[in-house]
């Protein structure tokens, strides 16, 4: 087995195996599953990272069969970065979930709701992890469809682990949106296959899809993925679902699950379709801009902690779509459009930064509501003085989101701005800037309540240290990534925007 094969196998099948282990249901099985999943994905992503950095994109034919029937795994810089971020977030969330549901060794899975939640959470999460890694490493459309479907089902199930009616409804709505999205995607796949007779991304890319059928299929897949990514105006399912889920699930959903469909979108638009059409890119950017504004404004108006963060996800996802028009600053004319490295690195850095920061913020928020047993902004008054580490984590996460140094968000925004300014795209400049300010405003709103000392005399339930550390470590990673963004830069250039040309 070559290195690449080993690492890809570890990344995809490690968590799957772990999920099976965790199905055992006993605390030891849950712990073993989490450990196995974290270790295999961390090792797999690190190994692949080095591999890709040194040798460029790598491929792995599962079982030795080639297309069309064999399953091919394929990794370039983009895959590896997403894989690594997911591994980081996943490891932290795994650590977090060890304590979130209570002491696993004393939990009675049969009678206590927390025990039941824990028993479902761990295998579901590991399954989800495997699916996500599968998405990042998929080389063909059908594979993407299957992993996407698993991802959607597991994610929706995670939301419903929270027992409140609100969360249940939100989870159901999420499931429906997700299934409809998958159907749209599958329809698009069908059309593509009809037209080109292949599903392998590389071959499709070589065919340079064009014409009405290809356009329709791209439109269908885009709508489907946009619904799953909660791109404005298809975002409405997200806030109740992400806010309603248990904290570790919220962290996963907001940080990495939406990135799965985002990953597919980027692959489709740029790797397969060579950028699609200019108007289409601007439309995506415009939707992203609208998402930034609308999500931020609504985040500002929320009165519960997790809702603020959930709406913030809507807004931050907008940034990743603002990347779309900036990627091709000189238009798509000609066979080989000049892709902008600035926009590419900047956009992906923002995605990475958002993933780390959002996970830490949801975990920190989980700690705060864990301590006060409530979730309203007014209920967490004074929590900064009781949970300084969680508060710090939230603050650091917030500053990453807002794109303040030393976070990767700062470097990412700098690069995006540089591209926008070089291209004279003042609209994008304004959106990026205003979005950052609105981010500050809603993060500040939470900090303000947390800092309020006058009302800090309620009952506090002690928060396990492990949960605080998980949030803080991730926040620190997100806040300090900017200093070493060059690592991400190097690996992202392996393959780049359009890896098959």
């Amino acid at each position: 087995m070559t290195g690449a094969e080993l690492w890809t196998t570890a990344a995809v099948f490690g968590p799957l195996l772990a999920s099976l282990v965790a199905l055992g249901g006993r605390p030891a099985a849950l712990k073993a599953g989490l450990l196995l999943g974290s270790v295999t994905t961390l090792a797999g992503s690190l190994g692949l990272w080095l591999q890709v950095l040194q040798h460029g994109p790598v491929r792995h034919l599962l079982g030795g069969w080639g297309a069309p029937l064999g399953i091919e795994l394929w990794a370039d810089g983009f895959s590896v970065v997403m894989l690594a971020v997911t591994a980081l977030v996943g490891a932290a969330v795994s650590l977090y979930s060890l304590s979130y549901f209570g002491d696993l060794s004393t939990l009675d899975a049969e009678t206590s709701p927390a025990g039941r939640a824990a028993r479902y959470f761990v295998p579901l999460w590991l399954l989800l992890w495997s699916a996500l890694n599968g998405i990042y490493l998929s080389a063909d459309l059908f594979n993407l469809y299957v992993t996407l479907e698993i991802l959607g089902l597991a994610a929706a199930a995670l939301v419903t682990l929270a027992v409140t009616p609100r969360a249940t409804v939100a989870g159901m709505r999420y499931l429906i949106v997700s299934l409809v999205g998958s159907m749209l995607f599958l329809l698009g796949v069908a059309l593509l296959y009809t037209e080109f007779g292949t599903l392998a991304l590389e071959e499709l890319s070589a065919a340079a899809p064009g014409g009405p059928m290809a356009a329709t299929s791209l439109a269908l897949m885009t709508v489907g993925m946009a619904a799953k990514t909660a791109l404005f105006p298809l975002h409405a399912w997200l806030p109740p679902a992400h806010a309603g889920a248990p904290a570790p699930a919220s962290a996963l959903l907001s940080a990495v699950v939406v990135k799965g469909s985002f990953f597919i979108l980027v692959r489709l638009w740029f790797a397969v379709y060579g950028g699609g059409s200019e108007a289409g890119l601007v439309l995506m950017g415009g939707l992203g801009a609208a998402a930034i504004l609308w999500g931020s404004v609504l985040a500002l108006r929320q009165r519960s902690l997790k809702r603020v963060i959930a709406y913030s996800t809507v807004a931050q996802l907008g940034y990743m779509f603002v990347m779309f028009p900036l990627l091709a600053p000189e238009g798509l004319g000609g066979p080989d459009p000049r892709w902008s490295d600035d926009a590419w690195i900047g956009g992906i850095l923002l995605a990475v930064s958002h993933a780390l920061a959002k996970a830490s913020m949801f975990m920190a928020a989980g700690n705060m509501s864990y301590a006060v047993a409530r979730d309203g902004l007014r209920d967490i008054s004074g929590v900064a003085h009781r949970l300084p580490m969680s508060f710090l984590a939230f603050g650091l996460g917030g500053l990453s989101l807002a794109g303040l140094p030393p976070s990767a968000g700062f470097v990412g925004k700098w690069l995006l701005l540089r591209e926008a300014l070089s291209a004279g795209g003042w609209f994008w400049v304004a959106i990026i800037t205003v979005g950052g300010l609105l981010t500050i405003a809603y993060v500040l709103k939470v900090l303000r309540h947390a800092l309020d000392r006058e009302a800090s005399d309620g009952d506090f339930r002690p928060v396990p240290r492990r949960m605080e550390w998980a949030a803080l470590l991730l926040a620190l990673a997100s806040a300090s990534l900017g200093v070493r963004a060059t690592e991400v830069f190097q690996v992202l250039l392996q393959g780049g925007v359009q890896p098959w040309t």
Partner: protein, 619 residues
């Protein structure tokens, strides 16, 4: 000897500073209190020792010099002839004042604070005399000015605080004007010119219009008026008549005797000696002449002896302003005018000091001791008063005659005018002195709150009387020592003691006669008012011009800043309220986010897509 002088040159101002520094430590404060009255001794010593030196080869050349290159922007300390004269009488005055104050404030609970500011002011006053460059002068000048505030408001009464306010406001205005002038000089020179040749060449450039700001005359007027606040030049004298009566007696003596001379010294130092500036000269001459006369008129209409003396200072400084005016316009007059000005300064400083101390002494005459003591005081006081009036054979006459001598050299219209003006002014001074003696006689009670506690005359005699007597004697016997105290250049011959005795005697006699007539015809049972019937009700309020100025300021509708800010904030609140309203509407919209967007929008998008799909498939 040279080394000793250098050390003294530094000690002159640093010793008082050191004494002041002791105040910051609670333990050493007592020692500081003991040392403060003698803090002027190094200065006096320096002046006396330098007097014994052989005269320097040329006028204005330094007798001794120290450069402290690290200090400030590099400080030159210089003692030249002018400086020695000023240092001499100034340190004498400070010594006398300090000793007087030590006794006078013996039971004052705030005497610690008094001597703190006393030492600081002293450091500034002596420092500016030995300052050899522009910025060093300004440094000490500012120190003196601001520290003296503490002396003015020492009593902390309402009047004292008002006087202090006026004093400090005018002082700051003066500082600003002075600094503006210094900037112009510095900007022309490109740094900080030393007094003497460097400054003179700066003036040459300025007068030639090469300065970055104004012409020479304007700069000279800026400097003159900035220093003129200290010198009590009309109309910048407003603080003088307010501050003198309320300040402790010793402080008044120092303010009037020593500190206002700093203004004069400043004029002599910074204004050009060889570059004629006719416009500036005219202004100085006219305001000086006005001040000389106005001081007399306003002074006669006062009741408080210290206020009378204050106006007398205004009047006397008017003479010195005239002298300076001549100096600025007529470089050829420089030696004469310079000598005359210095004589004036020394003479007036000592005499005025003596007069002020008299008031303080009179305050402390115990009631039981009656009139005999008062007669003694009055008798002693008359001597410096007469000297001030210019009685022949006194220091005043010497100063006046020297000035005339110089003017005679010059001739011309100015001389003719002055020939008439000066005797008239002398007459006025005599009348003012008469009025002062009368008000002093009437004064019965201590004016200084906080020192009302009865002091046995016997206790205070030694310490209170000794400095007073010393100053009286020095003031009266000035003729004997005054010429030695001033370096007289070879081309200037001081007039002898007998010169113009008759001319000089006349105004004094006339003044005394008028005083006698008014005295004897007064309807006042005490016959002590010494004010003609017609003027009995007329009074100039102390601080004269200030009264209308204050009225105007009160009347001016100055914009109320707080109201303005308030209105801005009101507007901000209204804006915020509007924003809240908009936000609530947004909330309503957002509450429908889920249903609205999910249902309608999703439906529309999907149906549109489906329709497009069908069309494509058909095609």
């Amino acid at each position: 000897m040279e080394g000793l002088l250098s050390v003294l040159l530094v000690l002159t101002w640093s010793f008082p500073l050191f004494v002041a520094l002791l105040w910051t430590s609670a333990r050493l404060r007592g020692a500081g209190l003991q040392l403060a009255p003698f803090a002027a001794l190094p200065g006096l010593l320096l002046a006396l020792l330098a007097g014994g030196l052989p005269a320097p080869p040329e006028v204005g050349a330094p007798m001794t010099e120290v450069t402290l290159p690290l200090l400030f922007t590099g400080v030159d300390l210089v003692l030249d002839g002018t400086g020695r004269s000023f240092l001499l009488f100034t340190s004498i005055l400070w010594l006398a004042g300090g000793l007087f104050a030590r006794a006078y404030h013996a039971t004052d609970v705030r005497r610690g604070r008094f001597f703190l500011f006393f030492s600081l002011t002293l450091a500034g006053n002596l420092g500016l005399i030995v300052a050899g460059d522009m910025l060093a002068f300004y440094l000490f000048f500012a120190l003196m000015t601001f520290a003296a505030y503490g002396l003015v408001v020492h009593a902390a009464s309402t009047e004292a605080l008002r006087a202090g306010k006026v004093y400090i406001v005018m002082a700051i205005v003066g500082e600003v004007l002075l600094l503006a002038g210094l900037f112009s000089l510095g900007g022309t020179f490109g740094g900080n010119p030393a007094f003497g040749a460097q400054l003179e060449s700066t003036w040459v450039d300025l007068a030639a219009g090469e300065g970055p700001t104004f012409g020479g005359a304007a700069v000279a007027l800026l400097l003159a008026s900035g220093l003129g606040v200290k010198a009590g030049l009309i109309p910048l004298h407003l603080w003088l008549p307010l501050a003198h009566p309320v300040a402790p007696t010793a402080a008044s003596a120092l303010l009037s005797g020593a500190m206002i001379k700093a203004g004069l010294l400043g004029w002599m130092r910074v204004l050009p000696a060889e570059t004629p500036l006719p416009e500036a000269s005219t202004v100085l001459l006219v305001t000086g002449a006005l001040a000389a006369l106005y001081g007399v008129v306003a002074g006669i209409l006062q009741d408080d002896p210290k206020t009378v003396l204050a106006y007398s200072s205004v009047s006397q400084m008017g003479y010195m302003a005239m002298g300076t005016g001549l100096l600025v316009a007529h470089p050829e007059l420089a030696p004469w005018a310079g000598v005359a000005l210095m004589l004036y300064a020394v003479h007036h400083g000592i005499a005025k000091g003596a007069l002020f101390l008299s008031v303080g002494l009179a305050d402390r005459v115990p009631r039981g001791d009656g009139d005999r003591a008062r007669w003694w005081i009055l008798g002693g006081t008359t001597l410096p008063a007469l000297a001030l009036a210019g009685l022949p054979l006194t220091s005043g006459a010497l100063a006046k005659n020297t000035l005339k001598e110089g003017l005679g050299e010059m001739g011309g219209t100015t001389y003719s005018v002055l020939e008439v003006y000066l005797p008239l002014a002398a007459l006025g001074t005599t009348l003012l002195m008469a009025r002062f003696l009368a008000t002093l006689w009437r004064r019965r009670e201590a004016a200084d709150p906080g020192t009302r506690a009865f002091l046995p005359f016997s206790y205070g005699t030694g310490t209170l009387v000794a400095p007073w007597a010393a100053l009286v004697l020095l003031g009266a016997g000035g003729m004997a020592w005054l010429p030695i105290s001033v370096d007289v250049p070879a081309n200037v011959a001081l007039p002898g003691p007998g010169a113009e005795v008759l001319v000089g005697l006349l105004p004094v006699l006339v003044g005394a006669a008028v005083g006698w007539v008014v005295w004897s015809r007064s309807r006042d049972p005490d016959r002590r008012g010494l004010l003609p019937e017609g003027l009995a009700g007329a009074r100039v309020p102390a601080g004269d011009l200030l009264v209308p100025v204050e009225a105007v300021l009160r009347w001016l509708p100055l914009p109320n800043q707080e109201e303005w800010v308030e209105s801005l904030e009101r507007r901000g609140r209204r804006g915020r309220a509007r924003m809240r309203l908009a936000a609530r509407q947004l909330d309503r919209l957002a509450a429908r986010d889920v249903e609205t967007v999910n249902g309608t929008l999703l439906g529309v998008i999907l149906v549109a897509l489906g329709a497009g799909l069908v069309l494509l498939l058909m095609g």
